[in-house]
Amino acid sequence: MRPAEYAAALLVATLGLAAIYLSRQLPYSAEYGPGAGFLPFWLGIALVLLSALLFREAKSQAATEGAATGHNDPDHANTNLSMDKSSRKPWLVFLGSILALAFLFQPLGLLLSTALFMLVTMRWAAQRTWFSSILFAVVTPIALYVGFSRLLVVPLPSGPFGF
């Protein structure tokens, strides 16, 4: 978790530097008052300063934790990025499915992409039986199609086969 805290602080610093660099290319002031580059420039400075503070916090946190172990807030203070072994595979399947759905939603169309998504997540992330996974993969897209495309007339993407 400490590496993650440091990585986040580093990312914040990078973002701040990028903001400073990019905003230098915009006019800092307009005819009257601040220009397009004013706000992003100072936000960038603030991020860089705050990232230093984040490093310090991560460090002191590490120190206190080394001293007194066992202090564990059940919900929020748990900044752990690792997880149970048993749920690692389903989680990765789930994450992969979300990414795949995001990229395939437009090219494959609503019906096909959501059917695939439901099949995969039901079977391997929710660990349902084949039977109910297939049932979900069939019923859900149709319900979505009827609900959104037909009843609410929301234009949703149709795939290469026209559905």
């Binding site: 290319q25 915009l26 349902r128 039986t129 109910s132 609900g147 037909r150 009843l151 007339v153 234009p155």
Partner: protein
């Protein structure tokens, strides 16, 4: 049925109930989506009319009015589906239609925004990517002040703008849009110098004007006719070629010796390489529409526009000329993609 997993029984039936409720209330809406035209003539299937701006806006009203009139007057027998694809000042919808190359079943509403986008923002969606079909109407700009303003006529405003440069504030939507272009022309022609304040929407401009936060503003007539009638605002001048029918006492800038005209066009584009027969079909349909009484009464007068049909070729020429005009205004204002290194000009 024993194969149905246990967890399905309780909540699944509830989902079903919900779905049924949904269906119930929208069923009446479903019937409104019309059936495919039966005849063999073009257009033999549903046509998509893309509005690259938000619902309820000027382009949207334009699209809904023309499609409903085309259907009601029996000019076109197919049903036309309006789809709002807003975003990026109209470029998102534009890029979508540009991608429908050669498709005879896609149309798009177009405004002068397409010219300014290209010039001010450097967007890569340009007007000559498309197939011009028809120009239908022109929207004017009015110059208005609050009722208690010391400016009784446009002359007073010009004078104040010369005497105290940059002190009189002018509210408009966006920089590089029609309001700022009009002011640029006005300043160039009259030698006055006003302080332009950019707002997000026409509504905000009106609120700022009524609250006395800005001294003068420009707006489309149909946005503010209500205010003019109620006496909250006065119109100093109209920036069109001729006076408005509804406001016969308001002079044009031209009459006052200021050669500033800014009219926003409203027309229809097709995707690139649309079939000439299809273009002709729609051009004829719009011509017939623009000659109808209903068009004049329910659209032009209602929204205080100027009717101005132009067929495809003339529309293209008009766009070319307009482009040059806007280009010089924008150069004058020091705007444009060259001025912003963050966006390389394309």
């Amino acid at each position: 049925m024993a194969a149905i997993p246990v967890f399905l029984r309780g909540w699944f039936s509830r989902l079903l109930v919900l779905t049924v409720i949904c269906m119930g209330f929208t069923a009446w809406g479903g019937t409104a989506t019309a059936v495919r035209a039966i005849d063999d003539d073009y257009p033999d299937k549903r046509v998509e009319m893309v509005v690259p701006y938000s619902p309820g806006g000027g382009s949207d009203i334009f699209a809904r009015t023309i499609t409903s009139m085309l259907e009601k007057q029996g000019i076109v027998d197919a049903s036309i589906n309006i789809v709002n694809r807003e975003g990026g000042s109209g470029t998102i919808g534009g890029a979508y239609v540009r991608g429908k190359e050669g498709n005879n079943y896609v149309l798009m509403t177009v405004t002068s925004g397409i010219l300014t986008n290209q010039l001010v923002l450097g967007t890569d969606v340009t007007y000559d990517d498309f197939t011009p079909i028809a120009r239908l109407a022109l929207d004017q700009l009015l110059i208005v002040v609050p009722d208690d303003s010391p400016y009784k006529g446009i002359e007073d405003l010009i004078e104040a703008g010369k005497a105290k440069p940059d002190e009189v504030t002018w509210g408009g939507t966006g920089l590089g849009g029609e309001d700022s272009l009009l002011l640029a022309q006005l300043e160039q022609e009259s030698g006055a110098n006003l302080n332009y304040v950019s707002f997000e929407s026409g509504g905000e401009v009106q609120a700022a004007l009524l609250g006395g936060h800005v001294d003068v503003a420009s707006a489309n007539p149909n946005e503010i006719l209500g205010q003019l009638e109620a006496g909250g605002m006065r119109a100093l001048a109209v920036a069109g070629e001729e006076r408005l029918e509804a406001l016969p006492d308001v002079p044009t800038l031209k009459e006052k010796g200021i050669e500033a005209v800014y009219e926003q066009l409203r027309g229809v584009f097709g995707p690139p390489n649309m079939d000439p027969e299809a273009v002709q079909f729609w051009a004829d349909a719009f011509k017939q529409l623009s000659e109808s009484e209903q068009w004049q009464e329910e659209y032009i007068s209602e929204n205080m526009l100027r009717s101005g049909y132009l067929p495809p070729e003339e529309f293209r020429t008009f766009l070319d000329e307009e482009y040059k005009k806007v280009e010089s205004s924008i150069k004058e204002m020091g705007l444009g993609p060259e001025g912003s290194p963050a966006t390389p000009a394309s």
